[in-house]
Amino acid sequence: MAYPAGFKYTKDHEWIELAGDRGRVGITDYAQQQLGDVVYVDLPEVGARLKQGQSFGTIESVKAVSELYSPVSGEVVDVNGALKDKPETVNKDPHASWMIAIKLTNPGEAGALLDATQYQDLIK
């Protein structure tokens, strides 16, 4: 699966798609492959304030539970409620399955994240 060139990536295998001072966050194709069949995605409430690298929720597959880490600091402005009923979409289409939308408090942080080429080198 292609890693969109317009996304930024973390070493913890999250992606963020930025638009101005906002971004949508999900997990990468590599991450969903490692997790296997996703059965639950637990997400925060709108309004939650996150620091870069802070856990914003958990994702649970048949095999294991993993934390989800925020790529940037900011406030949660939207949550993808559809994942509650259809968590398997994270496996089917990980780069379209955004989990939270975040309003960045420190947009400079995003600059230090990996680009698609760097991320694909990381998971080689």
Partner: protein, 371 residues
Amino acid sequence: MEQATEAPLKKTPLNARHRASGAKMVPFGGWDMPVEYSGLSNEHTAVRTRAGLFDVSHMGEIEIAGKDALAAVQRISCNDAAKLAVGQAQYSGLLTRQGTFVDDLLVYRLAPAHFLLVVNAGNISKDYAWIADEIKPAGDAVAVDASSRYALLALQGPEALNVLQPLTGIDLAGIKYYWFAHGEVANVRATVSRTGYTGEDGFEIFVPPQSADKIWLALLESGKAAEVIPCGLGARDTLRLEAGMRLHGNDIDETTTAVEADLNWIVGWKKDDFNGAAALREQKASGVKRKIAGFEMLERGIGRHGYDVYVGDVKSGVVTSGTQTPFLKKAIGMAYLPTGHTAPGSEFDVDIRGHRTRARVVPMPFYKRAR
């Protein structure tokens, strides 16, 4: 679950095949094993609806032979091996004096005075040392760790018989559940046992290590039309849990007795004496404080191994196994609960990472195949 130690991981004769086939490999009980081939749910479903092929060569094989072999097995194994005819197998436990599990195992009677014990991978050296010591008073019997002489393949699922039959002269339909026969599979000498750890019909096939790859490929080729696929330890675990089968190291160990684990049926109560007999008889007569029970989650979440169980506000037990089952599509598990609280329908809470989550006791097995 047994974790890998510092020592280099051991490899089964099929290791190169797993790696070449792109299986996801993990350390398990000191072995480098495939956890997943095409995906856990896919593999699980294949076994329930068609058939799946597992490499379980990491399992240990300990043989006990000699004039007093039966007496030796009777001492160390809690089930009644005298009930076994030659060609028959039984599930059993190696118990401490306290009636707790050193390991669980299958006991095969190869000949009147020759037994094969199949034990868990992570316990082979511990079991062997323990067995060799414990059988000394039994007389003329020796134990040999024969693990390196066997590769073990498990072909499991409703299509298993149809897939295996063209490769062997053994009349598979003539082998009853928990019986075995010697013969050839793909022109290689093999022992075929109608046993498994999935809750499905199927066979476990003991073969010489040098022929394991040949037979593995022959089985997949024969199973092509039925869409038989290779499966990993991940599916093996979810399948056995749906079938209500205990996993040593999770559901049973040296702190839990056969009575607490609700495995009275594998105890040879009428035998004269065996390891743990006195302790188990005492527990059977006066009862135990806790017992294992199957449960399903009533609220969203999966109660997993090690999570605490609460009855009301009181911490009352622990989850020993738990998963979301790919076939039944619900969260199930096993837990030790206070004895008064193990009746089906009883409700309790599992502490899932800080959230008290409702669960209900249900009868095991969770899944039972149609016969």
